[in-house]
Symmetry: D2
Amino acid sequence: MTTQVVNKVAGDQRTTRKLVRVAVAGASGFAGQELMRLLSRHPNVTITAATGSQATSTPRRLPALAKIWDGTVVPLNAAAFAADAVFLALPEAASAELAPMLLSSGLRLIDLSGAFRLRDSASRAKWYPATTAQPEGVAYGLTEFELESIANAKLVSNPGCYPTASLLGLLPLQRAGLLKPGCDIVIDAKSGISGAGKAATERTHFSENHGSVAAYNAFGHRHTPEMEQALGQPVTFVPHLVPLDRGILSSMYARVVSGTTAAAVTAAFEGAYKDAPFVRLTGDVLPEIKHVAHTNFCDIGWKLDEATGRVFVVSVLDNLVKGASGQAIQNFNVMFGFDQKAGLL
Amino acid sequence: MTTQVVNKVAGDQRTTRKLVRVAVAGASGFAGQELMRLLSRHPNVTITAATGSQATSTPRRLPALAKIWDGTVVPLNAAAFAADAVFLALPEAASAELAPMLLSSGLRLIDLSGAFRLRDSASRAKWYPATTAQPEGVAYGLTEFELESIANAKLVSNPGCYPTASLLGLLPLQRAGLLKPGCDIVIDAKSGISGAGKAATERTHFSENHGSVAAYNAFGHRHTPEMEQALGQPVTFVPHLVPLDRGILSSMYARVVSGTTAAAVTAAFEGAYKDAPFVRLTGDVLPEIKHVAHTNFCDIGWKLDEATGRVFVVSVLDNLVKGASGQAIQNFNVMFGFDQKAGLL
Amino acid sequence: MTTQVVNKVAGDQRTTRKLVRVAVAGASGFAGQELMRLLSRHPNVTITAATGSQATSTPRRLPALAKIWDGTVVPLNAAAFAADAVFLALPEAASAELAPMLLSSGLRLIDLSGAFRLRDSASRAKWYPATTAQPEGVAYGLTEFELESIANAKLVSNPGCYPTASLLGLLPLQRAGLLKPGCDIVIDAKSGISGAGKAATERTHFSENHGSVAAYNAFGHRHTPEMEQALGQPVTFVPHLVPLDRGILSSMYARVVSGTTAAAVTAAFEGAYKDAPFVRLTGDVLPEIKHVAHTNFCDIGWKLDEATGRVFVVSVLDNLVKGASGQAIQNFNVMFGFDQKAGLL
Amino acid sequence: MTTQVVNKVAGDQRTTRKLVRVAVAGASGFAGQELMRLLSRHPNVTITAATGSQATSTPRRLPALAKIWDGTVVPLNAAAFAADAVFLALPEAASAELAPMLLSSGLRLIDLSGAFRLRDSASRAKWYPATTAQPEGVAYGLTEFELESIANAKLVSNPGCYPTASLLGLLPLQRAGLLKPGCDIVIDAKSGISGAGKAATERTHFSENHGSVAAYNAFGHRHTPEMEQALGQPVTFVPHLVPLDRGILSSMYARVVSGTTAAAVTAAFEGAYKDAPFVRLTGDVLPEIKHVAHTNFCDIGWKLDEATGRVFVVSVLDNLVKGASGQAIQNFNVMFGFDQKAGLL
């Protein structure tokens, strides 16, 4: 990390700021481009390399980022990283292969794939078979709950989009001891189509999704073990595709322990997030995706039926920002000692 | 009901068919217009009157139905019904007031409001306070499960859109004794915006819903007691608005009794719907709204996790057709002895 | 064409009707499935064969048509057509190859591709290079303007979706001599994404189109020469993709001859369509796609600025119905002497 | 304008920057909220007051801006402006009434309404009848073409959304003398529904617009005289509503003078925007709304048919940013000597 005098805006402003050299592997996907957009205006970042998928090694521009970031992208195999930190926005197998090598060069990594999310090796072998080993110094990057381990980590494994939304909604109740043991937790999540990735498939065709909703991977999505690991108990999770581009709404159904009051539920949420700049609590005004699209916020609302002990929690975020690239930068900020909000407002 | 020779299409076709004189009260709302569209091509229907909301008593046309139905609509208070059957596509209070009068004139009614859905008077007083009495001869119009009572009814109370989708998904399991007693049933439903009605409100503004999803009325929607009445047990129900116009997808989470096999679940669905022309079973290929939009079909799929006994059922329909006007016509067909499919394919 | 007693609906209805044996080549594409949906309820059609694209010759069902048409689809090379008429919903090259063979067997054809739309051989060689010859007995299937030639045709070449919308908007003015010679005609058309076809490409990805609009093929779309052929003059045509599934709105800008009154424009439209069951004139209440989606209607509105002689015409239709399969059936009806509306309302 | 030491981000960063005190009148509409969102992160702005429409004088928060701007909004009649500059995001009549008073207090204004856009008093009387006088020192705020007059203005009249998109597309050709005199210019614009405002009307109902497109105000939109004023010639302008929230695509059809080459057209655009940070030229890769949504960019592409001299230009922008609030801030930056990009990247 270098400290230098920067004069970004001509004229009146003179700023002394720390600059971290950052490389991005996988800059041309949905999450990768969002990462580039955000990093390019981060006051403490200088982008030193970016790789993308392409046929030849000829450097190419990203047209969507014209006049935002006018650098060029090269293939991963042509890249040399003169960097302090590397963001990996790659498929699991590529991350699994690349990370150990980069770590051994002393780089600090933020990995957006699922390669290093599961600690249990049997579970990892089942859901992420390309990941054969877990390096030292890995932190799970759910920023609001892992500040200290992230600050000290060599590799931060950025959570999945569904777990980010769902765990931010459930962990405050669970940590406060309010969730009734032995009762089912149902998580019914709705995601925009960008969550299905940039590949052109029948599933991502416009006409398949316009005017429609579809459940998929019922009981079989690999974000399930990630949520179960964090909660320490099984969950029933079914994701759905809804006809919008960006955003997740996670609806969570659980039971609270006998005698739990609405005030206790509110206190659990307020306590968990009193210092969190990107979580906004909306109480019984249930949050909607449009309030968080294109931001790093996660908005959370809830409703308790005191008579029956049923609790309903809703959590919303932008899957490409707080559910991927935004949270990755938030974790980067924690790793390098910057304000969590740097580059994200 | 009159029998007469009709020669609808000039030329080759000569048909002898029964014709029922039908009136529609509330023809200008979303469900009402869909009703007019469907009834106008029903081979056994002649529309003798239609009422709509309007400022003056001057008859007016419905532009969206030009060259489909070119009759005129008059205000309810200007209408005289020379009819055998009347469809009421009115708000609860209007139905509650009008129905007894029409019944006493010997007309048979299909009511699309919630006025007469709840049998328990205390529950009705809470959820439908304008309805002070339940007439004789009321059937609950969930066609697939109430054929006989509908055939004999004076008034068929058409189910709500959410209950239609959800009950068609759950009743086969419940009637087969496969639902585990004492376990929560969670119903997470997603509806297009036409379900919020034709009134221009902040809630129905395009910009509020485009690119967004919103949960609403958590634990407090009046379709909940309707579902609980049919199932005989409590349910946790939360509806959501999704950014599309027509359609509902209902996601249902339950537990089956110990030892239930996937084959038993399949048998329950196949047994329940073996003669149902408008239910299509998709098994573990989960159904999507686009397959049923603009049709009277309800498509149902499911997934059983045999190891844990959790079952997930998905049901989809068009809220304005199978969830309202289409099912109303299906019920009309049963009441008057026509094929269930008449006018609906 | 066979005449026989049919008893389609059990019970009361007994109908004597003519039945035409119909085959569909290309039943699994967007237009093909719409064709199957419509033909399956056509009172004078019996579907004797359907082909679709698939890897093996094993017959397969079309799930979207369950309980609507439960036949099976076979590959084109496995099909034998025991039919009186064949609908070709194929790419240009396949139609160009197949049509002469089928014609020589005495079948009558309705071709939905562009293979036989252009009469001028030089133009056809440029825009439809796979079509090396024009058979005898071809009619251009713009139903409202070509009734007689369609009735007598061996092959009806169904118009493109954009030309259908645009020509129905412009021909009444042109035939009435109201268009000012030598002045530009600008056609700015907006189409839903189903118009881009069923192939999964970057262009048809949901995220490329949601919240966006894109012009494409400016000055270079092959529907341009088709419109110029019908109008007998050049046009400036640019199509756009808009974020919806089905529908086209064509905006047309022209100049009328000096002294043209609004009444003359209205008379031109009313005269052209006084017997047309599927054209609805909306005058200065400009029509919108939602009024025609899922129907065979084309709605047309217009505005004349008498002071300057500028005229603006708007035409809307469903690209898969009136812009493809519906018009194809309308043409079939004319060819076989049925009411134009048979199977289409 | 005050100069002070600001230490916005705790810790490492120390900045000396000028701060301008800014008030916003009309902070609760679509454009107003976007203005607040952008101004709240502008490095040279301190928001000293904000007004909104509300029933009582009780200050209220804007929930959509939680943790972005947590100030309170008061009614206009309760506001006192301790400010150097005021943004007016009000209806025409309110701006017309308020502006003279504020100007006489020495405040500099950026007005987002149409009140002061038309210089010709007869035209203004027709299209903006509530505006009875034009103050001194008004500049037309099309930033890229009016830098000097904006820098010196007391009141900048921010252009309409359609004129911004269309004029940025046409003025380079017109100023380079490439547009053929006496030929029609057709402007066919497509706008998202936020352009129709926040009021809940039948026009803005979700179900009216989903899956639909509609032309409106043909020949009669008040942005027409604004474009004609800037171009010095008549245009044919028809706006359309397309089913998306934010964004405009303007399609422009014109003729170039004889002999104009593609290179000359390109040179005209490149010359006009060589120093413009928010205009991106895409040449014959036509631009799409999704590339500019939520940004202050205007992307422009074009296609020339050299043989016929027809030119097609496409321009896209976000109607709430470059078409309203973003351009207003860009103008503010020019007025107060900041970098055009301040607060906008």
